[in-house]
């Protein structure tokens, strides 16, 4: 069990990082988008390892299903595939910042005592997640509703923005 998880983690991590790097590096936008889908999938896999079954499903549905499609639509609508995805003038500084950020966070992660609990929590999580979301006293009912309103607003906003005048 332990080793199985470890093996799948390393594989998933390698795929994830590689596909993410491909998104950043590839000049062809369309391929970049496809690698993004791959990245999203591997994230879903990580969620599975972490025992978040509901989230893994949601990840596939929302990211792979919806967002990736949206992005591909956008790529096609903007017809910028030919020009590709060149890097800007900040690439060197951006690289430095990214690296520094990585080093800093890694330092923090390594040097912090997380009090992690290694026992595996109960599965499946779907019903307990629903409990956590909607339970009366400590629930997230109001933020949940607000998130719904936010989505609505985003949809209306998108329609207004792209509507042909």
């Amino acid at each position: 069990m332990e080793t199985g998880i470890a093996i799948s983690f390393w594989i998933l991590a390698a795929v994830m990082v590689a596909s993410a790097l491909a998104v950043v590096w590839l000049r062809d936008i369309f391929r970049a988008a496809l690698f993004l889908v791959l990245c999203f999938f591997s994230v879903a896999g990580v969620f599975v390892i972490l025992g978040a079954d509901f989230l893994a499903a949601a990840q596939v549905l929302i990211y792979v299903g919806a967002i990736a499609v949206l992005i591909i639509f956008a790529i096609m609508l903007t017809r910028e595939t030919q020009r590709g995805s060149p890097s800007g003038r900040f690439r060197f500084i951006a690289f430095l910042v990214g690296l520094l950020f990585l080093v800093t966070v890694t330092l923090v992660v390594v040097s912090t005592d997380w009090h992690a609990i290694t026992e595996i929590p109960a599965e499946p999580t779907t019903s307990s997640l629903a409990q956590a979301l909607f339970s009366g006293e400590s629930g997230f009912v109001l933020p949940f509703e607000i998130a719904a309103v936010l989505l609505l607003a985003a949809i209306i906003g998108a329609i207004v923005l792209v509507r042909e005048r």
């Binding site: 470890a6 991590a13 990082v17 993410a20 998104v23 950043v24 970049a32 993004l36 990245c39 994230v43 990580v46 969620f47 972490l50 989230l55 949601a58 929302i62 990211y63 919806a66 967002i67 949206l70 992005i71 639509f73 956008a74 790529i75 903007t78 910028e80 020009r83 995805s85 060149p86 890097s87 800007g88 900040f90 690439r91 951006a94 910042v97 990214g98 950020f101 990585l102 966070v105 890694t106 992660v109 390594v110 992690a116 609990i117 290694t118 026992e119 929590p121 307990s128 956590a132 997230f140 933020p143 936010l150 989505l151 607003a153 985003a154 949809i155 906003g157 998108a158 923005l161 792209v162």
Partner: protein, 101 residues
């Protein structure tokens, strides 16, 4: 070697840094949006990892909210990209500097 919280967090940090580099360095607005999605995913990994190793479902709840917001963001962001593309015939962020004084 057992996989612990630190592994997930570092993975999340690597993913985030890659996304960050992309968001800051790329010129195509759509690619920038894609990189932002990568960053959000990285955060989600961290959230879920904390949830798993802290036995607290709040992390997953947050991850759900992040997904919702990410969806909203990508919708509006792509709409903006398309709107700008329509008016300026480009999605190159270096040529979009309407916020300049």
């Amino acid at each position: 070697m057992a996989v612990g919280l630190e592994h997930f967090l570092i993975l999340s940090a690597v993913l985030f840094s890659i996304g960050l580099y992309g968001a800051l360095a790329k010129r195509n607005a759509v690619v920038i949006l894609m990189c932002i999605e990568i960053m959000l995913n990285a955060v989600n990994i961290a959230m879920v990892a904390f949830s798993r190793y802290g036995h607290l479902l709040t992390g997953q709840v947050f991850a759900i909210f992040i997904m919702v917001v990410a969806a909203a963001e990508v919708v509006v962001g792509l709409a903006l990209v398309i709107a700008i593309y329509r008016s300026r015939e480009t999605v190159d962020v270096e040529r979009i500097d309407l916020m300049k004084w």
